[in-house]
């Protein structure tokens, strides 16, 4: 049985995956499991290790330690078989700039037969507004990004890996890409791994989230679970000002201003939070939902980093 035919295995699975550049670990002890058919958003600040992780998964960068399986294939030893099933859009695509878009599609088609769908490639080029007979060197950055997307989408891969895919796109093309291409693609039951800084744009699509921070995976769970766990609690005090510090379990951030304080908590539970708030003397509190971007920033923000250091010490 071909590895990719086993639908019970995750689309991507890593165990203790790590990559070191010199003395610095770019990615460390990564244990990731991405179910098939989901849209997985890999989030992280600059230098968190997102691109390094993706490059290891795509077999273009050898891990220093650990192992990975992509659609059941080992990216190091079975990279050719894996690449037949995976569409990858790198963060900085390099093309033969002397070719036209039509020619580069034809060139890639040579290696992606029989899955390559020339009609689909043609349609995508047309939909994206990319001139097919113009040399790539004369195209804008955004148009070249679109060509990269076409090359990844035209053979309908089982897994689509996108590393900052909307970086060079204008707002209209971004919306077209997210609401059109990605939505259509995810509805077909295929797996998408997307790394992006534009979290708000993809938040409606992403059903699983992984957050990388300093090369380590600090969260990996369904988006709903994450948003249910991370909440902002507004605390109101009567009589006395709000305390300047707060010792609650799962606290990500706490700020006090007069008789009001804001606490961002991880691992939110309504009953437990109510009890905690009563214990620290708040007269009442209001729980607010966070957007995916807000939750991400709370988790990887400076407060979280300081808290993590305190924990370690």
């Amino acid at each position: 049985m071909k590895p990719s035919a086993d639908i019970t295995t995750p689309a991507i699975e890593t165990r203790g995956l790590g990559r070191r550049f010199g003395s610095k670990w770019a990615v460390c002890d990564l244990n990731l499991s991405i179910p098939r058919g989901c849209v997985y958003g890999l989030l992280g600040l600059n230098g968190a290790g997102k691109s390094t992780t993706i490059r290891m998964l795509m077999g273009v960068l050898e891990p220093t330690c650990g192992s990975a399986r992509v659609l059941g294939y080992d990216p190091v030893t079975e990279d050719v078989a894996m690449k037949c099933r995976v569409g990858y859009v790198p963060d900085a695509p390099a093309f033969y700039e002397w070719m036209t878009a039509e020619e580069v599609c034809a060139f890639v088609a040579h290696y992606r037969r029989p899955e390559w769908d020339a009609k689909r490639a043609e349609r995508l080029l047309r939909d994206f507004g990319v001139p097919a007979n113009q040399r790539l060197r004369t195209l804008s950055k955004g148009q070249r990004a679109k060509v990269s997307l076409v090359l990844a989408l035209a053979f309908s891969p089982d897994l689509l890996v996108l590393d900052e895919p909307t970086g060079g796109l204008d707002p209209l093309a971004r919306r077209q890409f997210v609401e059109g291409v990605l939505a259509e693609y995810s509805e077909s039951g295929r797996t998408i791994l997307i790394s992006s800084h534009l979290i708000n744009e993809i938040s409606g699509l992403v059903d699983h989230v992984g957050i990388l921070h300093d090369g380590r995976l600090v969260r990996s769970e369904p988006t709903e679970t994450l948003l249910a766990r991370v909440k902002r609690v507004r605390l109101f005090y009567e009589g006395a000002p709000a305390p300047t510090a707060c010792a609650c379990s799962g606290l990500l951030r706490y700020t006090a201003d007069g008789r009001e304080a804001v606490a961002v908590v991880d691992d939110y539970d309504s009953a437990r939070t109510a009890a905690e708030m009563a214990r620290i003397g708040a007269s009442h509190h209001v729980v607010e939902d966070l957007s995916l971007e807000e939750a991400f920033l709370e988790i990887v923000g400076p407060g979280a980093a300081a808290a993590a250091k305190e924990d370690e010490s």
Binding site: A94, F95, Y96, H110, R137
Partner: protein, 517 residues
């Protein structure tokens, strides 16, 4: 960013080209891309054959390079150039990374490229055969020359070695065309020198037409094949490597600032870290060559007064050009607007930094050449000493000319040819003049060397200053279009080349005396 190496557009219609790419993949793509190269080399062959008779009475040395000799050497050079372009452009434009993302085995890609190389070499041979056929007596001379099986062997082996060297080196060296071309030649010469020495020690015969390692012999063919095998192994190892492009994409400044020592270079010493980084290889090679080659010369020429010193003469400009070409980093040449321009520092500041870096490197280079000269003063024959001095001048003039090309143009094969056109006649003329001045050869008048020296100084000092000034201070040439920079180079370089060639042709005996004593 436009592609750094431009070739004439393929005559194929776009739709036809797309169909060809879809059918043949990398092999077809490379043939379409580089088809102009073998045709251009065949054109050079034809022009060389046409002007060779007119050189015969002016320069017996140059007149040797025609007919079968020219065929033999051009074939190896063309094979080298074809091998080089097949891998170099993929590295320089990072499309090797694009290829690696496709579901193709690395060795499959390698096979496609080898197939393209065979086709391109076949195109060259067909074109040259047509040229040879129309030259009166050309075909007969060539077939007579090739009737010796040893020569056929040598021809095949040397072509193989040229192709393998050109193919493998871009995969492992920094993507700087001058560095790769010259490092390839230097490495081949060093390999041959070692093999000659080892063979000489084993057989007792050193580097002569009677030696079993002379060009055209079986030993020579074996050496070339051995070299090809080494290069093939290098290529296979490099193709199998996964992450060469990743490391290269890291900004040079970031790499340079990663250690305390480099911070010192950058902050306290005032050198541009990329320059220091790039100068390391040519400086090491220069110093190593300067130390080892005199020793090798002594081994080869125990009883000879230095008549074979031309190996040193060859190494000097190669290493010097490496040094000169490395003074400007790859990234700066390729990017139309480079990072340094965005800093709140005047362009004059960069100009001074670069000149300082080049000056320091030149001091090291000159010292490296002075050391063997000083060592040789006690024992070395006067002619050999003269060659050392001449070599140093040639070295410097070639270095700065290559530097000039590197600044004005995105380095391409044209720049290499232009650099050689300019620097070799100038270097030879300057070296000859120095030799004559130092040893008072009767064939030279005393006014002639002064003119030569003035030109040598102009080349060695004036051109790099002018190039730097143009590039960093006055006109941001690096921001200008490729065409405009090429125009500047096209106007400046041929003028110098014509003048240098005239000097050489007027006094061909300078060259012969210097080489053969």
């Amino acid at each position: 960013m436009s592609a750094p190496m431009d070739y004439p557009a393929s005559p194929l219609r776009p739709g036809l080209r797309a169909a060809l790419f879809a059918a043949t993949g990398t092999a077809g793509k490379d043939v379409v891309r580089f088809i102009a190269l073998p045709l251009g080399m065949a054109l050079i062959y034809m022009v060389s054959e046409m002007i060779a008779p007119s050189l015969a009475d002016k320069s017996p040395f140059l007149s040797r390079f025609r007919g079968a000799e020219l065929y033999f050497r051009m074939l190896a050079v063309t094979a080298y150039a074809i091998g080089l372009v097949l891998t170099f452009e993929e590295r320089e434009t990072r499309t090797w990374w694009f290829l690696r993302l496709l579901p193709a085995r690395p060795l499959g890609l390698l096979a496609h490229k080898l197939l393209a190389g065979v086709v391109l070499l076949g195109v060259y041979m067909a074109a040259v055969s047509a040229v040879v056929a129309v030259i009166p007596g050309g075909w007969g001379e060539l077939t007579h020359w090739l009737s010796d099986p040893n020569r056929v062997q040598a021809c095949v082996a040397q072509t193989l070695a040229g192709f393998a060297t050109g193919f493998a080196l871009p995969l492992v060296l920094p993507p700087n065309l001058v560095t790769i071309v010259l490092a390839g030649l230097a490495a081949l010469v060093a390999f041959m020198a070692l093999a000659y020495t080892a063979g000489g020690v084993a057989t007792g015969g050193f580097f002569s037409a009677e030696s079993s390692y002379y060009v055209g012999s079986r030993g020579y063919a074996v050496m070339m094949v051995a070299w090809s095998v080494i290069m093939a192994l290098v290529a296979i190892a490099a193709v199998g490597r996964r992450e060469g492009e990743i490391a290269r994409s890291m900004p040079a400044v970031e790499v340079a600032l990663s250690t305390r020592r480099r911070r010192w270079w950058h902050r306290d010493c005032g050198f541009d870290p990329p320059t220091v980084h790039l100068l390391r290889l040519p400086l090491i090679l220069t110093i190593t060559a300067a130390v080892i080659l005199p020793w090798l010369m002594r081994v080869w020429n125990r009883d000879d007064s230095g008549s074979h010193a031309f190996l040193l003469f060859l190494m000097a400009p190669l290493l010097g050009a490496l040094l000169g070409a490395s003074a400007v980093s790859h990234g700066e040449r390729l990017r139309p607007t480079f990072y340094l321009y965005s800093l709140p520092v005047s362009r004059g500041h960069f100009f001074r930094k670069r000149m300082g870096a080049l000056l320091a490197a030149s001091v090291v280079l000159v010292m490296a050449w002075l050391t063997p000269i000083l060592l040789s003063l006690l024992k070395m024959p006067a002619e050999l000493l003269g060659v050392f001095v001449a070599g140093a001048v040639v070295c410097m003039s070639t270095a700065v000319t290559a530097w000039l090309c590197a600044l004005l143009l995105r380095v391409r094969l044209f720049a290499i040819m232009a650099a050689l056109m300019v620097s070799i006649p100038f270097g030879i003329a300057a070296g000859a003049s120095l030799t004559s001045m130092l040893f008072g050869r009767p064939v030279f008048g005393w006014s002639e060397p002064i003119v030569y020296l003035a030109w040598a100084l102009l080349v060695a000092v004036g051109l790099p200053v002018l190039a730097s000034w143009l590039a960093f201070c006055r006109s941001p040439l690096l921001e200008q279009s490729e065409g405009r920079r090429a125009l500047v180079a096209l106007v400046v370089l041929p003028l110098l080349a014509v003048w240098g060639t005239l000097l050489l042709l007027v006094s061909p005996q300078h060259f012969l005396i210097m080489i053969f004593g």
